[in-house]
Symmetry: C2
Subunit: 252 residues, 2 copies
């Protein structure tokens, strides 16, 4: 039985609580949070506290708070036993300033409280200072996910940058596409099959090979015609992304 | 029974032939192509020709050739009866220079000969000069797709630009993410659930509301840290796309 304490009241804490509490070999013994703001969203049967000196003894303490506060917050954890992990993609392990052993337990997914997540398909990236701690953390992660990876701080930072491109930036492309549709009284639904096809292709084809369109063909006639109809951000982005695509495929 | 002649031997012609030939109310009476290069990929039972003066009489002539050649090619079609349509997203209807009635039959999808497509889910955008022709073209489109839209040349051009963002540019974001993973010996598979989640969200949430990440939060600490680790195209793109995201969400 692994005794776990969650520290936080945000989206990650919310989903971790849900994932852990169904598991037989995990005991969620306590949740710490700064205040009771989101308490109604959490399981009332799990003991909670707003005082760090009331923290119980656990095997793993999971800090699920915003990146900026991890370092300062961890400094207040004065106990020496147990393993303290954070859940951030962009904070190195050495930003943890606690006295206990340190680790990282980073679920690579965007969480929203409105949406139930199937944790088994979410990759969890682990890092520890000591191999014994890795065994414990891996046991914990394996109980909720089928995709557990050992990733060091430097790799995790790169992975986070890659995730910004794959997730945030692609979403911004969808947002611009929707804006263009809305402004021209065309339903964004028309683009849905195209988008699903693009993403479905990733299962079978390297995105490098899946590229199509005017920039891939370096079709300046179409590119210039499109640029002529765009302005502001959309025009700048169209020009720069097309330039980047052309450069990649001209190289080959 | 609608008699159809396909003109072309590329991906669109290939998939249209497959979609049409199963339909009872459509008769594919002939296929024209410049040369016999791809003939082995097409149905041998459908008569074919390389001579335009051998074209039979049809209700609809579907030009499925590359955008650049549509105008010149259509000029060679000297008959007056029937409806001549092209299948391009970026060519206005008035670029058809044939003597017969003109129209557009634009399936909004990226086609590859390697992949079987379910045409019923592919949106088809139609345009004609005359409402009678629209009835015919809609009947034709309805037999193969459940998503048929009337879209004029100006809307179609904007839709094509939106599709470049939604499809080509988002794919480039995936490509860059994969490059970053590859260069840091991290599996691109780690990002798959995140990507599928982002796209799945589009079914329920406007991409404007679905945005997350450092740029959305205008988290300059993370943004600068990421920029510091990037160079070249990737750095330029990260900076410009982040700037654009920040601008959108600061406005609200």
């Amino acid at each position: 039985m692994i005794r776990v304490i969650l520290l936080g009241s945000g989206n990650v804490a919310f989903h971790l609580e849900k994932a852990f509490k169904q598991k037989k070999n995990i005991e969620l013994i306590q949740r710490y949070r700064r205040d009771g703001k989101n308490d109604d969203l959490f399981d009332p049967s799990i003991p909670k506290t707003i005082y760090l000196n009331e923290l119980k003894k656990a095997d793993v303490y999971i800090i699920a708070i915003s990146d900026d506060h991890i370092s300062n917050f961890s400094e207040q954890l004065k106990f020496k036993e147990g393993l303290v992990v954070h859940t951030s993609g962009s904070v190195p392990i050495n930003q943890l300033k606690c006295t206990a052993h340190k680790g990282v337990f980073y679920p690579l997914q965007t969480f929203s409280k409105d949406k139930i997540m199937d944790f088994t398909s979410i990759p969890i990236c682990l890092e520890t200072e000591f191999s014994k701690d890795m065994i414990l953390l891996k046991t914990l992660a394996d109980t909720i996910s089928d995709h557990v990876y050992k990733i060091d701080s430097s790799q995790r930072e790169k992975l986070h940058i890659a995730a910004v491109f794959a997730n945030n930036f692609s979403n911004h492309m969808f947002k611009i596409a929707k804006d263009i549709c809305d402004n021209n009284h065309v339903s964004f639904d028309l683009l849905a099959p195209l988008i699903f096809n693009t993403v479905n292709n990733l299962k079978f084809i390297d995105p490098t090979d899946a590229q199509t369109g005017p920039a891939k063909r370096n079709d300046q006639k179409v590119i210039q015609k499109h640029l002529h109809q765009l302005k502001g951000d959309q025009k700048e982005l169209y020009a720069l992304i097309s330039k980047s695509i052309i450069k990649y495929y001209q190289k080959d």
